[in-house]
């Protein structure tokens, strides 16, 4: 950290706000029940302390939940007028807002993300997704899929640990709006906010079985994906698991959407507004500790300005404060699990071995918990693992280019295609680049913008299907 006349006093959020309970249970058919699976302990990745014991689902619980969802679909939810469904979903949106602070603190405790991100980004955007989709419930005839598009039935949904409540909202809101019922499996390491969301379903008086939440590990996800009475599978997670799921679903009538990994190129031209670009680069890769599938992890800088960009970037990154996620001054929180920390470490080591230049922020790191200091690799070649594989951590790889054509070629040199960034003052170049880049989302002179009204999703091995907007509804409709 550079010498500064300003020092921040600690500004911790109270963890009491989270209303943390010693034990949490699966939510099936409108009630919290003991799961028959092996209970798990969810830990605070910033301190490694146990937060709560979570009862998990067994394979038979998956079947019970799917049956409950099927009943709810046939008896109530599937035949309910859209206007009535809408009101339930509006209730959920409001309940998320009302308990927003509680959810934000709980999310930061369970996930390790800085409170300023869970408070200002995750939770409000989750509420926004319910608001947006609630309005669709009685307007589906106008969505462009013909009059009276039909729901699919029971949706099985598996979500990752990087944005636990937000990913739940991305999945559940459109499923409910289109008339489907849901069995959702949150990630093994971050089940808590999903189970509090189940309380919100009770408070909203949602008919039993419409939403079912089953904590558990990958085997429960696999059971859900393979269940014969599930009509639709939605998955967000790694490309590796996505391929397994696509194989499992192959040959069945199940409709599938996948939101998988990425290795986004963030392209900076020599005429870019550099200070803004540096902010965007930092936001693009260090937001949520880099646990973002669309993180701007491959920085492509025009050769003529690479030294200047690197200098500004290193200075800016060195000012990032890493530490207690509940401190409102914290910029970079904890890595979600020891396992993930090990993966990041291994890929970073490969960068060293393969000859990239490593720079790591000199920021102090807490002694306990899973932390990784923001790291920037320069002199990166396209063949290196750190340029090709998703690291899913606060690690940036910097490559260079000379011409816009070379930038496009390098940016597109990946099996992934989720997102991309462009930084330049020249409008025609932005639009040309936006056309050329093979990615589902292109941010120009900004990065990591999300909105329920804007479709999000990938090309190629970043998955198929979109979430958000009119386009996203297709995933849950029989069209």
């Amino acid at each position: 950290m550079p010498d500064s006349p300003f020092e921040y006093a600690p500004a911790p959020e109270s963890r009491d706000i989270a209303n943390l309970k010693p034990a949490y249970r699966p939510f099936i058919d409108g009630a919290f029940v003991d799961g028959k699976g092996e209970p798990l302990k969810t830990i605070n990745p910033a301190t490694e302390e146990v937060l709560a014991e979570v009862s998990t689902a067994s394979k038979s619980d998956v079947d019970t939940a799917v049956k409950a969802a099927r009943r709810a679909y046939e008896k109530t939810w599937g035949r309910m007028p859209g206007a009535e469904r809408a009101k339930y979903i509006f209730r959920l949106a409001r309940l998320i807002q009302e308990r927003g602070r509680e959810l934000a603190v709980l999310e930061s405790l369970d996930n390790g993300k800085p409170i300023k991100e869970s408070r200002d980004s995750d939770i409000p955007t989750a509420a926004a997704h319910f608001f947006y989709h609630a309005g669709w419930a009685d307007k589906l005839d106008y969505a462009g899929y013909g009059p009276d598009p039909r729901p699919l039935g029971v949706a099985g949904q598996v979500i990752p640990w990087n944005f636990p409540l937000l990913m739940l909202a991305w999945k559940i809101a459109p499923a409910l709006a289109t008339g489907n019922t849901v069995v959702l499996k949150p990630a093994e390491t971050t089940p808590l906010t999903a189970l509090v969301f189940a309380e919100l379903c009770q408070q909203a008086d949602l008919p039993p079985g419409v939403v079912n939440i089953l904590p558990g590990a990958g085997d429960i996800g696999a059971e859900l994906v393979g269940h014969p009475d599930v009509n639709k599978i939605a998955f967000t997670g790694s490309t590796e698991v996505g391929k397994l799921i696509q194989r499992t679903v192959a040959g069945t009538p199940k409709k599938l959407t996948l939101e998988l990994g990425g290795k986004a190129a963030n392209v900076v031209f020599d005429d870019a507004p550099l200070d803004q670009a540096v902010e965007g680069i930092v936001n693009g890769i260090f937001f949520n500790q880099g646990h973002v599938c669309c993180a701007g992890s491959r920085l492509l800088v025009q050769e003529s300005i690479v030294d200047e960009v690197l200098e500004k970037l290193r200075y800016r990154v060195s000012t990032l404060r890493i530490g207690d996620p509940l401190d409102k001054n914290t910029d970079v929180g904890a890595i979600n699990s020891r396992e993930q920390l090990t993966k990041i470490q291994e890929l970073v080591d490969s960068g060293d071995t393969e000859g990239a230049q490593r720079w790591t922020s000199p920021c102090p790191i807490p002694e306990r918990g899973f932390f990784f200091a923001p790291t920037v690799f320069s002199d990166v070649q396209q063949s290196m693992r750190i340029a090709r594989e998703e690291i899913f951590g606060p690690v940036l790889s910097v490559l260079t280019f000379r011409t816009p054509e070379e930038a496009v070629t390098k940016a597109n040199n990946t099996p992934y295609g989720l997102s991309a960034g462009i930084w330049t003052e020249k409008g025609s170049r932005i639009l040309w680049m936006a056309n050329q880049l093979r990615a589902g989302v292109v941010w120009a002179n900004t990065f990591n913008r999300f909105d329920p009204a804007a479709p999000f999703g990938g090309y190629q091995e970043s998955g198929f299907g979109r979430e958000g907007g009119r386009t996203g509804l297709e995933a849950y409709l029989d069209v």
Partner: protein, 288 residues
């Protein structure tokens, strides 16, 4: 009937705008519905599939980058040339499918009209499926559909021309490029369609048509790393699970198609166009 001995034709593959024989040197006899020998068709091999994918990938940049108006013009030109060869298609469809001339006529007419219908979609689909996104912030955000890339098509086995047109035209209309395996038993209209494509301003490589067996070639298309989507319409139902599993290796878009070959004479909707499109969302800040 004159006594003149007719000139018979050697049917070949259509790859990269050229008409090569199969790399394998193989061919197989094609008979009409009554079992009478019509011609030898080239029996495409795995290498032919790979060559066709290379050609389709090479052509993708130009075809997807062409203006929608231009693509519409080119595709309409195909319909014009199809119309000019109408009689030839009628006799080939009649022979291959064993239908009376009257029925063949209506199938060929439907195929030409179908091609015109899809030609007209090139410059409308983005308006219908795209969006200006009303995001909650000072940003301009819009979503445009873009072609998914190289599409592997296993063409219908029964409907030799109308079915083929119904699965190929939507791929080309969206701006994707195609590698098609034609009907195995009824391949001659597919080759004649290739000749139409070759003489109607469609750039070489945009559509590649292989005569051969879906059971043999489908798996190479499904597992190919440079193929982005797969239409298994012409695959045997028993083979489809394996094809879909192979396609999962590269997260291909796999069309959901009915087990039985559909009635191609029914007017289609835009579902097939939608399957070959990716939604791209672009954001830019607003300000002065």
């Amino acid at each position: 009937m004159s006594d003149r001995l007719s000139v018979t034709k050697t049917y070949k593959l259509y790859i990269g705008g050229k008409f090569p024989r199969s790399e394998s040197g193989r061919s197989y006899p094609v008979s009409d519905a009554k079992g009478k020998f019509l011609a030898n068709a080239a029996h495409a091999s795995r290498k032919d599939v790979r060559d066709a994918v290379v050609a389709a990938r090479k052509a993708f940049g130009g075809w997807s980058g062409a203006t929608a108006y231009n693509r519409g013009q080119v595709l309409f030109r195909v319909a014009e040339v199809l119309e000019g060869r109408r009689d030839q298609f009628i006799s080939e469809v009649s022979a291959c499918e064993g239908v009376p001339a009257k029925k063949a006529e209506s199938l060929v007419d439907a195929a030409i009209d179908r091609w015109v219908w899809y030609a007209g979609w090139t410059d409308k689909i983005a308006t219908v499926l795209g969006a200006a996104n009303p995001v909650a912030g000072p940003y301009f955000s819009f979503t445009v559909p873009e072609p998914t890339g190289v599409v592997g098509v296993l063409a219908p086995q029964q409907s030799s021309l109308l079915g083929l047109v119904s699965v190929l035209a939507p791929v080309l209309a969206t701006g994707s490029t195609a590698v098609v395996v034609s009907s195995a038993e009824r391949p001659l209209p597919a080759i004649t369609l290739s000749e139409v494509l070759a003489t109607s301003d469609v750039p070489g490589g945009v559509a590649n048509i292989l005569t051969g067996r879906a059971a043999e070639l489908g798996s190479w298309l499904a597992s190919h790393g440079d193929v982005n989507a797969l239409d298994p319409t012409g695959a045997a139902v028993a083979d489809r699970v394996e094809l879909a599993k192979a396609a999962a290796g590269t997260v291909k878009r796999v069309l959901s198609v009915p087990a039985e070959e559909p009635d191609w004479t029914r007017q289609p909707d835009i579902a097939r166009l939608r399957r070959y499109l990716e939604a791209k969302t672009v954001w830019h800040p607003l300000g002065v």
